[in-house]
């Protein structure tokens, strides 16, 4: 059993997911984790599937999807990653303000400096408004107040606002 990372990118239309997943099902591939969204109106999907087919066979089967030239499909075998319990504490990082180059790189650099790991990231540009949302796992020994200060300083230089909130789940 091998894992394959498949990406489908391009012009959105109804039925892309239905067509893609039907082909994968016919190949006997099991879709494990998937993320799909529209990025500036472009269809953007990444799937990790497991099954016996090799990359070439999967790529050939998916080729009709890209037939009209509006979608790009890639297939790549990936080695299975070992699952480990999250070691850090989850936080939600929010940034919003006027659009300008360098917001994402500046803010995530501050997070990377303390060993924080981004586990989910969304950015949206809406008119002049730029919004960044990131799920961040922070190592347990991080000084969160000091990190907030550093993020606030970096955001201040960019002229945007930043918040860092604990996102720990309540056990029910």
């Amino acid at each position: 059993m091998t894992q394959h990372a498949i990406t489908v990118l391009g012009h959105d239309r109804p039925g892309i997911i239905a067509q893609t997943t039907a082909i994968l099902a016919d190949l006997g591939l099991n879709i494990e984790d998937t993320s799909m969204t529209l990025l500036r109106g472009h269809f953007a999907m990444t799937l990790v599937c497991a099954g016996g087919s090799d990359d070439d066979r999967i790529a050939a089967a998916l080729a009709p999807l890209a037939g009209d030239g509006t979608l790009t499909v890639t297939v790549r075998e990936v080695s299975a990653e070992g699952a480990v319990a999250a070691s850090g504490t989850p936080y939600l990082l929010t940034v919003h303000g006027g659009d300008r180059p360098g917001i994402v790189s500046t803010v995530v650099a501050v997070v990377a400096e303390v060993g924080g790991n981004v586990t989910d990231l969304t950015t949206r540009l809406s008119g002049d408004l730029y919004v960044l949302l990131a799920e961040v796992d922070l190592p347990t020994d991080v000084d969160v107040e000091a990190l907030r200060t550093s993020l606030g300083e970096a955001a201040g230089r960019l002229g945007v606002g930043v918040t860092l909130r604990a996102a720990e789940a309540d056990e029910l």
Binding site: E81, G82, A83, V84, A85, A86, S87, P90, N117, T119, D120, T122, E135, D137, A167, E168, A169, D170, E171, L172
Partner: protein
Amino acid sequence: MSATPDPSAAAADGLNARVVSWDVAELDVEGVVRDVVRAPDPVLSTVGPEVDPTSAETVQLAADLVATMRVSPGCVGLAAPQVGVSAKVFCVDVSEHPKTRGHHGTFVLCNAVVVESSRNEKAREGCMSVPDLTGDVKRATRLVVRGRLPGTGEEVELSTGAFEARALQHEIDHCEGLLFLDRVAGAHAIHQRKTYL
């Protein structure tokens, strides 16, 4: 054992004094710690039938739920389907949780229903039956619940808020065959606890 609030002060706080004074010792049976089942076990997606709160079977189940909750670290509530029994019975005890404001201590309710709910707030929930995922769920922060106490079968109605309200809604959902997964706030509102390195 959790701290039990003073019943005489309960009425002043808008709490139900009878529920506050309830103690698992009233059941007069020894609770047995049961295994907690995990999704996709079908019992978690089955609507539990109403129970006779005075039956020996229900009394034992109530005691078992409390016993299982107490040995599970951080657990503030447990519903019958989570120990493999399809039934409208659950226990709650949020007294040790940092987000708790007013609370009724440890109690078990049978056949509980939501009578009134308002003021939704979104928060992230985890569940022993879905151990590797969490989800952002909107729940009412003002809640009135009616149900019956196991053993005596008395009907009680209690008003609560904040974290106890969230816990009650989560457990009532379990009795209705619903998981937090059925209530998440959007396609990106489920989060993985495990990371892959």
